[in-house]
Subunit: 208 residues, 2 copies
DNA sequence: TAGATTGTTAATCGATTAACAATC
DNA sequence: TAGATTGTTAATCGATTAACAATC
């Protein structure tokens, strides 16, 4: 209580992993779990899990551990995914299309609510319940729907200017699929999805 | 020299980011760069970049910094991406298809060389130069092509058993797109791509 | 040369782990 | 009760940063 110190970002980054594991346990009808069991599944020490959770409150009971559903709901609240966030996708290539079709966002707090592409040939195309809009409507549509999150799925050469435009429209969180580091003003968050970077991380350890 | 101590994994994980930035600089025809400039672009301290690189050798010159192309080639060698790694993709849904079509792997050391799906309706389908194969051919085909890396793009419920099968076939590096932590034997590496987890990491900081 | 920048050492900072009293 | 497991403290471990001699 009276927790003034900011919680380390690295801890926040682990919460979605805990949430993912808890979701799995709910599907398996597990009622209780322990820091030891969770750690076992995730390859994390039980001490770390208890320490991480202790930043936010006391969620367990000595002797019995954590009620799976309760902890799940608490983490959803902490991460603010006990609601539905609207997202924009910019760049409707193969990847943007896959993102737009992906069924997995809904259960985790997200919904794709707008699609944009610079290519006139793609504008007007219907994908699910959405129509691809031109870049010229980006600011207007994002403002209208009060969209706060966007996914960038354009070529690397376009990513920075698209990011600038999204920030101008009021977007505060960017998930960038383009293989390039982008610069944003303070207060805007960026996360990166770069499969090739992950692959290169692993090849270091592979013997030729 | 005589560097016996293992290099921290967190350092290895940053090398692909440096490589990405250097690649960009090559495109921009920049001949030299400095730890300061690189750090500026990436939001990393110059000291960290110098420290990271110092694990592998001396790549710069006092006063002038680093030759962009030289450092790029050195990092490619260190990460072993100065060659072409063959990859298998398991699960040919929207995402698997996007991966199979993605043009960006080639330049970074990778090529998709085999596609698998459990759905008989998808088996036999041609995607680019490849034909989707049934799971029953997985071990044989991966062995035949000596594939060491695989990408898992199946539903979460299937991911663990697919991983087991890939490991059985001799795959040593897995990039898992399914939102679930998988368990693999020692010596096999796993990296995760979970966009929803990244999004949840960011919503923590968003004000409602 | 003077200015710039490296590679490296030592100091600092922060994250992880071990241990255990509290208690279900 | 006895056994199990939490939440927390202190100790350990590792990563980042600051500083600077070396030198291009």
């Amino acid at each position: 209580m009276g927790n003034k110190a900011a919680i380390p970002d690295i801890v926040i980054g682990r919460l979605p992993i805990y949430l993912r594991a808890l979701n799995r346990m709910i599907q398996e009808n597990r009622e209780y779990t322990s820091s030891h069991e969770l750690g076992e599944r995730l390859g994390i020490s039980s001490a770390q899990i208890r320490k991480d959770l202790s930043h936010f409150g006391e969620f367990g009971k000595q002797g019995t551990g954590y009620n799976v559903r309760y902890l799940y709901e608490q983490l959803r609240q902490i991460l603010k995914v006990d609601r539905e966030w609207l997202m924009a996708v910019v760049g409707i290539g193969d990847l943007g299309r896959a993102i737009a079709h992906y069924r997995g966002f809904q259960a985790r707090g997200f919904r794709v609510a707008a699609l944009f592409d610079a290519d006139p040939a793609k504008v007007g195309e219907r994908i699910g319940e959405l129509t691809v809009l031109p870049m010229s409507q980006l600011v207007e549509e994002i403002t209208r729907q009060n969209i706060r999150i966007a996914m960038i799925a354009v070529p690397a050469s376009e990513a920075q200017s698209v990011a600038d435009k999204l920030v101008e429209a009021g977007v505060q969180a960017l998930l960038n699929y383009a293989p390039i580091t982008i610069t944003v003003p303070p207060g805007v968050r960026v996360q990166y999805i770069d499969p090739a970077a992950h692959l290169q991380h692993m090849t270091y350890y592979l013997t030729p």
